[in-house]
């Protein structure tokens, strides 16, 4: 199976994986959203569950190769009161101002931390009025320091000043351009345009910095299970003899997309959650290719888990194919680090990040080797 994906004018190399399942400490627990700091390290929110209560935000070193992962900070854990969370969802970092913003979709609040995870303030309250929130999801920070919150339950975006004062809004429920159905992730391109994963409408929307609709990308399409394929979960992904993309819909057809990223060339990356892939487009929305997850080398923390449990290693040696483990399983977030050309994908159900590198000046090998 290919570790290097070659597409129209683009090459992507799978680099390494980070993480393992863990309710606390070194690992993840159902990442909902992710953002990168100025050093290319990731902040994530972890939804946890009602058995392990592993809800939290964590700050993790990405590095450029396997084995460099490190836990830098952990905060926003489950609980009541300042700095705590019930259902963590969105996260955004403002490295210039030493701020991390985290949304809690149950309490409908935004908590503010410094980049080391120390609680500073909280704003927002449940409701549908200006400055009020309903199930807040993704967050993005503008160059001005203003904070855009995906107000998912109200199907709109709201803008707050860095200290939490209401500054503006756009959107509303519906299917027309500029309207949303339970949006999830958000990102800003280099011009400040806003890209939103319009989850329930199965599309990405691009808005001007003032909130004017500029582009809708994608329509609904769901993976089908090829005959005889192995269903990694009842809802996919499916590992089929015909190849890793068998049963996939077209690149521009999404099943509940959760996030979007834009790279330094303007290419757009869509986290196609329900189809277990990342879809890549040029800046005009032209399809380029898809990534399906290629985690053939285990993460450092993953190796620690297996090494400490001999039965796990014994079982792994008896498995006919590890391919189901390589694949994304409900990826929730994608980000691009312009400094390293790395594409980082939060592989939510597998509690890890998969890192790809966009390769520049790739020279093809001799085909008759």
């Amino acid at each position: 199976m290919a570790l290097t994906t070659v597409a129209r004018g683009r090459v992507y190399d799978w680099s390494h994986a980070i993480g393992r399942g863990a309710a606390t400490g070194t690992g993840f627990n159902y990442v909902q959203t992710m953002c990168l700091d100025k050093n290319g390290n990731a902040y994530t929110t972890n939804r946890g569950n009602e058995n392990n209560f592993g809800m939290r935000a964590n700050h993790v070193k990405i590095g450029t190769a396997a084995g460099e992962e490190d836990l830098l900070a952990e905060f926003f854990q489950y609980g009541e009161g300042d700095g705590k969370t019930t259902w963590p969802f969105g996260i955004a970092v403002d490295s210039e101002r030493d701020r991390v913003y985290c949304s809690d979709e149950w309490t409908s609040t935004i908590s503010v931390f410094d980049t080391g995870g120390k609680f500073i303030a909280k704003f927002g309250k449940p409701g549908s009025g200006d400055g009020e929130l309903s199930h807040p999801a993704g967050i993005a920070v503008e160059k001005s320091g203003n904070v855009i919150v995906v107000d998912a339950g109200n199907n709109r975006l709201q803008v707050f000043s860095p200290d939490g004062k209401f500054a503006g809004k756009c959107g509303g429920p519906g299917k027309a351009p500029g309207e949303f159905d339970q949006p999830w992730g958000i990102t800003l391109d280099k011009d400040g345009n806003i890209l939103v994963a319009d989850w329930g409408n199965n599309r990405i929307q691009k808005l001007s910095p003032q909130g004017r609709p500029l582009m809708c990308l994608g329509s609904y399409g769901k993976s089908s299970k090829p005959e005889g394929a192995y269903a990694v979960t009842p809802l996919g992904p499916y590992v089929a003899a015909e190849g890793e993309r068998a049963g996939h819909p077209r690149t521009d057809q999404f099943n509940h997309p959760t996030d979007v990223a834009v790279d330094s060339d303007g290419d757009i990356y869509v986290c196609d959650w329900g189809n277990h892939r990342v879809c890549i487009f040029d800046s005009e929305g032209g399809p380029i290719t898809t990534l399906v997850g290629d985690s053939q080398v285990m993460s450092k923390w993953g190796n620690m888990s297996v090494s400490a449990n001999p039965d796990m290693m014994k079982a792994r040696r008896r498995v006919k194919s590890l391919e189901p483990e390589w694949r994304f399983c409900f990826p929730t977030a994608v980000d691009f680090d312009p400094a390293s050309d790395q594409i980082i994908v939060a592989d939510s159900q597998r509690n890890r990040l998969q890192v790809y590198k966009k390769v520049r000046n790739y020279t093809d090998f001799q085909a008759n080797l």
């Binding site: 909902q32 569950n49 058995n51 392990n52 979960t233 009842p234 509940h256 498995v319 159900q349 509690n351």
Partner: protein
């Protein structure tokens, strides 16, 4: 009065073929007619499937919950509460009673949920095919140790339970049949799956290993041959005992409480004629469950069997939550909510043994009764809940109610519920203390509260424990 009878009959159908219904739904179904309601229930594909993506947005851990409750229970509760296909879900619950498989050994709710999904998809299909599917279901294989059933070393666990609990019932086969049956299923196993560390759960996949199969001659229930598992299933379904066993299970689950399964060899069915009718349809339709269910729901003995079945904890919890409303979308605490059936004696996805749960009056003891009543009373006493508001709104249009009207109105709209004269007198005694209630002159909140309290009293009655 005829219309009221239609409502009562529809309520009976929906309690049994589903998890009950509010008055608005009953009226809509009555308008279409009983036959149409039965056909819609029998064809779940005509209704939309439950939105699993909404569940995973809020509770991603419900997809691959591993071995720890409550996240597996969260997943099934979400489906039970939200389904627009109540009979599909009720049949999944039925087969979970019959092919009882539990987390206590499997330690993997993912695989149990996969089995429930098989029951959703095939539960109203052909029983012979379902037997084949269950025989190849890795969760069942692990539950009954068939991965340890080798051509050179037979393990009889699956073979025995297939005959005793899944198809024929005790007394309809010999120990030799158990042995020969088990030999036929040697080599039916699953591939090694990717283990749970470090990235979470992966499912098993069925594998047939011919080199581990005993292909020698077998003698099974009077038949001789080099039987494999499918041959055994063909022989099983042709046995008269098979239809009787499955149809008695259906009767017990949907019509009226029977004795517990171990007593069946010595205790006759409470309605042998009904069982005979169902067996005839089972046989003539070549084991089509939908045909048997259709006959059952349209039979007079079904229509007349109201309140002859003690509600299972699943029926209590799901019926209450669907009636009251507000639990359609997961919220923090959904896990605890999902465990309520366990507190009443029915730990879904974790039955006490391969025999499943003992039903009927065995659902009731002093602890489980308190758990049932407390749960129902807490839910039904919420006068702001959608379903309770529906009752209040229908009563308040009358302006004011005498004590007797309050009692009758609540009994009617909560069911209709039929109660004894003694129970009625006790309810009336409480209503008399409140006197005439009305929704005028600022007494609205108090009247709402009295309705809620009367509903709480009704769910605490002996009669309300029956469906």
């Amino acid at each position: 009065m005829a219309y009221q009878d239609d409502i009562a009959l529809m309520a009976h159908l929906m309690r049994r073929a589903g998890f009950g219904a509010r008055r608005d739904e009953l009226e809509a179904r009555v308008a279409k007619g009983y036959d149409a309601a039965v056909e819609e229930l029998l064809h779940p594909e005509t209704q939309p499937a439950t939105d699993e993506y909404a569940l995973l947005r809020y509770q991603p851990a419900a997809l691959l919950p591993g071995g720890q409750p409550p996240m597996g229970n969260v997943n099934w509760l979400y489906h039970l509460v939200n389904t627009k296909r109540p009979l599909e879900e009720k049949m999944a619950l039925f087969w979970h009673h019959v092919f009882a498989t539990g987390n206590s050994k499997v330690d993997n709710y993912d695989q149990l949920l996969e089995q429930i999904q098989l029951f959703r998809e095939h539960g109203m299909g052909n029983y012979r095919e379902l037997l084949s599917i269950v025989s190849k279901n890795p969760t069942m294989i692990f539950w009954l140790d068939n991965q340890q059933n080798h051509g050179t070393a037979v393990n009889e666990n699956w073979g025995r339970e297939l005959l005793e609990l899944f198809s024929l019932g005790a007394g309809n086969y010999t120990e030799v049949d158990v042995r020969e049956c088990s030999r036929a299923f040697t080599g039916w196993t699953f591939e090694t799956k990717i283990p749970r560390l470090p990235y979470g759960r992966f499912p098993w996949k069925f594998e047939y290993r011919p080199e581990d199969h005993d292909d020698g001659e077998k003698v099974f229930l009077g038949h001789k041959g080099h039987f494999n598992g499918e041959d055994i299933l063909d022989i099983i379904v042709q046995q008269p005992a098979c239809g009787k066993f499955i149809c008695r299970h259906l009767y017990n689950f949907f019509v009226a409480d029977e004795p517990q399964v171990p007593a069946w060899p010595i205790e006759a069915p409470r309605n042998p004629k009904a069982i005979d009718e169902m067996v005839e349809v089972f046989r003539d339709s070549k084991f089509d469950m939908r045909a048997v269910l259709r006959h059952m729901f349209n039979a007079d003995w079904f229509k007349n069997a109201r309140f002859q079945h003690v509600k299972s904890p699943a029926e209590v919890v799901v019926g209450t939550l669907r009636f009251v409303g507000g639990s359609e979308v997961p919220r923090p605490g959904y896990g605890e909510l999902s465990m309520n059936t366990a507190y009443m004696g029915q730990d879904l996805l974790n039955p006490p043994s391969v025999e499943g749960w003992h039903t009927g009056k065995e659902w009731i003891n002093s602890g489980s009764l308190m758990a049932r009543i407390n749960f129902m009373a807490e839910q039904i006493g919420n006068t702001s809940a959608l379903g309770v508001r529906g009752i209040i709104d229908r009563l308040r249009v009358k302006g004011s109610l005498s004590p007797e009207q309050l009692v009758d109105g609540c009994l009617d709209l909560l069911g209709p519920v039929e109660v004894s004269a003694d129970t009625k007198a006790q309810l009336l005694s409480q209503a008399n203390e409140w006197g005439q209630i009305s929704w005028s002159n600022g007494s609205s909140a108090a009247s709402d509260q009295h309705v809620g309290q009367m509903l709480q009293l009704i769910v605490a009655t002996r009669e309300y424990q029956f469906a």
